[in-house]
Symmetry: C2
Subunit: 194 residues, 2 copies
């Protein structure tokens, strides 16, 4: 059921690094992206896939991890992601990618979760450096990076208290993510009731 | 399987208008949105739900249908959507919604498809008019509208030919959507093969 997948799809940042992911599996995820909606059906997104250690290390070096965890600079050796999908905007087709990269990210992450994997979406990236390291053509704009692996952490959802949405880790290294209540999200809850 | 859902989740624009959708079902979809990733975990999106005829008619009047179908201005009476989710950005929290609205749209549409429904994402909206018709507070920015219903049309995927991505209807009213090949989407297909 989609609700189970969406619930299990948390942002994971620590992984079993000995669990490898194949290039072909990444291709399957891109196929989910390919079949997802695209504004004006333009399909301006392209994908750089990485499942080998050398390329993974390059991508890792450009990511900013978990802004709210001040004492943690990212997963240590042994807990790093084992694959990445770099989502690119092809500026030869358009410079307005609307929210296509959000749509495809969710498709691909749900595909990962269904296969016992998980990941995290990065928008905070050293894009200039990454573009150079991957020798990407100039007409590609880096939009997001999805890090993937077999999750090695427990992530739980809490209710937001006092409007504080910052995630944190407790003393048992469990990662807590405060989520707003459904009542807070619906603006017309007293109308249209059936 | 997620691939089946993603494949079945086409953009549908004609519906069985006698098939009603409940307000509570829309709430369930918003719960899928609620449990989806959000940039910096800020969760700045809000939702206006409509499942009654009067509000549906207001929203319908502000949507621009299927830009590539020049001879068609939208579904006629009897084939209109029976519910809508208006995705709002709460500018009191941020003015940068990143691609959150894309992420939640895909979650909600997959939830609709799983329940035998379908829909279409609109970004081309008369936003000023819609804001007035729904008497939305000034601090809400309209980002997208998702139209929902029980699909009454067949949508098939074709391969893109000659870089033409425009969808069209054939003589049997089947809706064709050209999609780029997976080979076109992956920029480093000759690297990292395992």
């Amino acid at each position: 059921m989609i609700k189970d997948l969406v619930s299990k799809n948390r942002s994971y940042r620590r992984f079993y690094q000995d669990h490898k992911i194949s290039y072909d599996f990444l291709k399957d995820l891109v196929n989910l992206a390919r079949l997802s909606p695209s504004g004006r059906n333009l399909q301006p997104l392209k994908y750089f896939l990485s499942a080998d250690e050398q390329t993974n290390a390059k991508i890792f070096s450009t990511l900013n991890w978990a802004a709210y965890l001040k004492d943690w600079n990212g997963p240590e050796e042994g807990e790093k992601p084992t694959a990445y999908i770099v989502i690119l905007g092809d500026t030869s087709l358009t410079t307005n990618f609307m929210c296509d990269h959000g749509i495809v990210s969710q498709s691909m992450l749900l595909g990962a979760v269904e296969n016992g994997l998980g990941g995290c979406i990065f928008a905070s990236i050293n894009k200039a450096k990454l573009k150079e390291l991957l020798t990407l053509d100039d007409h590609f704009e880096i939009l997001l990076v999805i890090a993937l692996g077999k999750p090695k952490e427990i992530v739980v959802i809490d209710e937001v208290q006092d409007n504080d949405i910052k995630y944190y880790r407790d003393e048992n290294q469990v990662h807590h993510v405060p989520k707003r209540s459904i009542e807070e999200l619906i603006v017309n809850k007293n109308q249209s009731k059936k």
